[in-house]
Structures are given as C-alpha cells and as structure tokens.
C-alpha cells in the first residue's frame, strides 16, 4: 500500500505516463472521469484532457493511435497495420469448391459461354450459387445473351479477374495445350498401357 506520490509532487510527465499505461492495458475505452480516478489526488478534467491530447500527438506515426470513442478514450491499431496483424492469425484461407473452380476455368478458357455450355462441359448441373459466387467476386459477368431459346446469358471474365490473378490479358493464362500435355502424361498409364499389353 505505498499509495503513489501526491499529484502535486508528480510531474505532468509522470501523470501522462500513468494515463498512457492505464489506456494501454484497459480492456475497453476509459472516460475522463475514470482516468481521474487513477490518481490519489484528482488532477481535474482539464489537465487530463490536455495530457490526452498530448498523448495523441506523441503517438503520431506509430502503429497504434489514441482515439476518442463514444465510451471514452482508447488505444487502437491503425487500419494500415491490419494487413500485418492478419498474418498472425492462424486461420486457413478459405477455398472455393471444385464446382466453382471448374466453372471459373470454363468461363476463363471458353468465354463467352452460357450456363448450358458450362453444364455440357462439366456434365453436371451448375447451381446458381456457383455463378453468383463468381459474379459477387467480380470475376465474371454477363456480357450478352445468346440468340437461342431462353436467351441464356453469356458469361465472360472481367478485368478484375485478370488483375486479381496478376494477368495482363487472357493470353497469359496457362495454355490449354500445356495443360492437356500434363493431362496426357497423367493419363498415359490409363490410355497407353492397355494398348501395349493388348498387342
């Protein structure tokens, strides 16, 4: 119970350090009236306010800033630092389902295509959600309608798609020939071996 020095004998610098410390550990915002309770002798709201404004200045250019919210004063991180802090979160990045990825691949390589085209190629019905997911992401949109019964929308990839994948144009997509070569390699045993064994 050493009970701290009296306000009179505390320099304002020391008062500021105490305010700063309390604000750094507080679980929520602290009102000026609460901050005044830190001291054995009430320094008054004017001094506390003055010191808070000094602290705001002191913390300029740092990753954390002192701000005034509805509930009082609190330190919080600047939004620019979110990108770094996010890296500490161990959450695994979400992934798109196979349906979404295949639909995206078909639209990217075969655009403009209708939903029917996608279904023909994939051999299964494409759910509305799949296309909505890609549209919401801003990666595909309807660029026209095919002049066939039902006038189905024609999907194509957008500029945002190129930007997000770091492409300058669709020609920078991995060429299908290469993909199919890989596929041939993968499928070699399946297609070639029976032939060999059959001769």
């Amino acid at each position: 119970m050493s009970g701290g020095l009296k306000v009179q004998t505390q320099s304002t610098e020391e008062c500021k350090r105490i305010l700063e410390t309390a604000l750094l550990v507080a679980p929520g915002p602290l009102a000026v009236t609460q901050l005044r309770q830190l001291f054995e002798e009430d320094p008054g709201s004017d001094l506390v306010r003055r010191l808070l404004l000094e602290l705001v200045d002191d913390w300029q250019g740092r990753g954390v800033e002192l701000i005034q919210t509805a509930g009082g004063w609190r330190f919080q991180t600047r939004l620019e630092y979110q990108v770094y802090l996010d890296r500490l979160k161990q959450e695994r990045p979400p992934r798109y389902s196979r349906a979404v990825m295949e639909t995206l691949a078909i639209i990217a390589y075969r655009q403009p295509v209708t939903r029917g085209d996608i279904e023909d190629i994939r051999g299964v019905v494409v759910s509305t959600n799949v296309l909505k997911t890609l549209e919401a992401r801003g990666w595909v949109d309807v660029v026209g309608y095919r002049d066939t019964p039902g006038r189905p929308g024609l999907y194509a990839t957008t500029r945002k798609f190129l930007e997000d994948l770091g492409l300058r144009s669709l020609t920078e997509l991995p060429p299908l020939t290469e993909i199919e070569r890989i596929m041939d390699l993968v499928e070699l045993p399946k297609t070639e071996e029976p032939a060999v064994s059959g001769e």
Binding site: F75, T77, R98, E102, I121, G144, Y145, L165, L167, P175
Partner: protein, 274 residues
C-alpha cells in the same frame, strides 16, 4: 535432550513469523488459549506438520535433535484443547499424535545391540525429514507468492485491434485454374462427350471485348470495334473474334446496301426489333 521447548519464546523470533512478515498468531506465553481464539489459532496452521514446525521453531531447538518428550507433550495438549472445545479435529492431527507417541516410546526403549549397527535409525529421522521437506515447501510457497504476478502486480498490455470487416475471400492462383481445367478435361475424356477444342485464347478474349463494347441495345459501327493501336495482328484477331461471334450467333451484322456503313449489334437486341 534439551528441555528448552517449554521455555517461553517471543513469537517474533519464530521462523514462521519472519517468513510471512508478521507473526501468524500472537501466542500467549503459556499454553492457555482463550476458547474463542483457539479456532483462529488452529486455522493459522496448515496441518500437524505446520503446527509441529511452529512448536519447534518457536523454541529455537535444533530440528536435527528434537526433544521428543516435551514436544509430544505440548502437541498433545493442543490436540486435547481442540477436542475439549469440540473442534472438528482432522484425522491428520490424530495420526501425528500417534506417530509422536510411537517415536517417543521407541526412543525410550534400549536399542537392540545387533541391529544397531546397520539398519536401526534414529526413530526421529523420518519425522525430521518430513518436517524439513514441509518447511522447504512452505518457504517456497511464500516466495512463489511474492513473485510478481499478472493482475495482482502487473497487467498485460492489450490494445484494441481496429479492423475493417473484410470477408476473407479465397485466393485463386493460375495453378488452381490449371488444375480445375485438368479435372474438367479428364472428365470430358472419360465421357468422350466433348472434344475440347484448342483455340487461340486471344480470339476468345476479343470476343468478350467486342461483346462488352456492344453493351446495350445499340448498333455500333463495325470499324469502331477495331483498335488500330493493337497492330495488324491485333486487328486480325479482332476480326476473327467478330466472325466467331457471328458464327456463334452472338452478334448481328447488318449492311443495308453495298458500301453502306456496316453495323454490329448484340444478337439479343434483334428480338426487340423483330
């Protein structure tokens, strides 16, 4: 054997008091404890070992050479007092009383001459070992309690993290796209429904570009679909893309008469006019 145990000692002299900063209980010089204080007195002890340690340390006797007779007598007086006041007496206290009596009686017995050489130990040895081990723990506990501890002596800093609520979107790489196509192609091969045409990617890209230029229900002059900045190759690709769009009936090209301006319009616009 020292008879010091019965002699009064200043409570401040005892180890217990020193380690905890102040005496646990202001023990009267004799054994008399006011009945209402007995309970409080006993609560100050963590058990028989603690009480014994107090009795020993209070009189400054050598713990390695405990005078069993006065110690046992004093201990039993406390136990008797507790019983007398109908205090709930833990079994541990009674067990210790039995142990003390046993040690005392063994010490009174003459040692068997044969066994003395090898296995016969001081009957007090085990008690001393326990007392010292307990004292060690007791001191360690006190020092542990003095270590700065979070929430009592200091706080962790925890600054609020300001976050824009951003939905975490899946990241897609070219490799992912490649894998997706690989699966499609493999599937298509297995079904042999589709032959995947190999096509110039640039043509399909230009098809999309032209369709975008044709947004809305308007005719666009054919020439404006071509950007000379693309160079000859670019113009050829644009032209091929236009032909492909016509072939796939995605656009309508109209020319009212020879050499008149050629107009292009998205195919679906034709319905509105027809």
């Amino acid at each position: 054997m020292s008879a010091e145990l019965a002699s009064p000692a200043d409570p401040l002299e005892c180890v217990v008091g020193r380690m905890y900063g102040q005496p646990i209980f202001d023990l009267p010089k004799d054994l008399y404890i006011p009945p209402d204080a007995l309970e409080v007195f006993l609560e100050a002890f963590e058990g028989p070992l603690d009480l014994l340690l107090y009795l020993i340390r209070k009189t400054n006797v050598n713990v390695l050479d405990i005078p069993m007779v006065p110690l046992t007598a004093q201990y039993l007086e406390y136990v008797e007092a507790m019983r007398h006041h109908n205090l709930e007496l833990a079994a541990d206290y009674l067990l210790m009383a039995a142990t003390l009596l046993e040690i005392k009686s063994r010490m009174l017995l003459p040692r068997p001459p044969k066994a003395a050489d090898d296995e016969e130990l001081d009957p007090r040895a085990e008690l001393v070992r326990r007392l010292l081990e307990y004292e060690q723990v007791k001191l360690a506990a006190a020092r542990l309690d003095q270590l700065p501890r979070v929430e009592r002596d200091f706080e962790w800093v925890s600054v609020f993290v300001a976050e824009k609520v951003v939905e975490r979107l899946p990241e897609v790489s070219l490799h992912d796209l490649q894998l997706a196509w690989l699966k499609i192609a493999r599937q298509a091969r297995l079904k042999r429904h589709h032959t995947i045409r190999r096509e110039e990617m640039s043509v399909r890209e230009h098809m999309t570009m032209i369709l975008r230029k044709l947004k809305g229900d308007v005719f666009v002059v054919f020439e404006t679909l071509f950007d000379p900045a693309l160079g000859v190759a670019g113009l050829v690709v644009s032209f091929l893309a236009t032909l492909e769009l016509v072939k796939e009936r995605l656009v309508v090209v109209t020319q009212n008469e020879a050499f008149a301006p050629i107009y292009v319009r998205r195919a679906e616009g034709a319905d509105a006019i027809d």
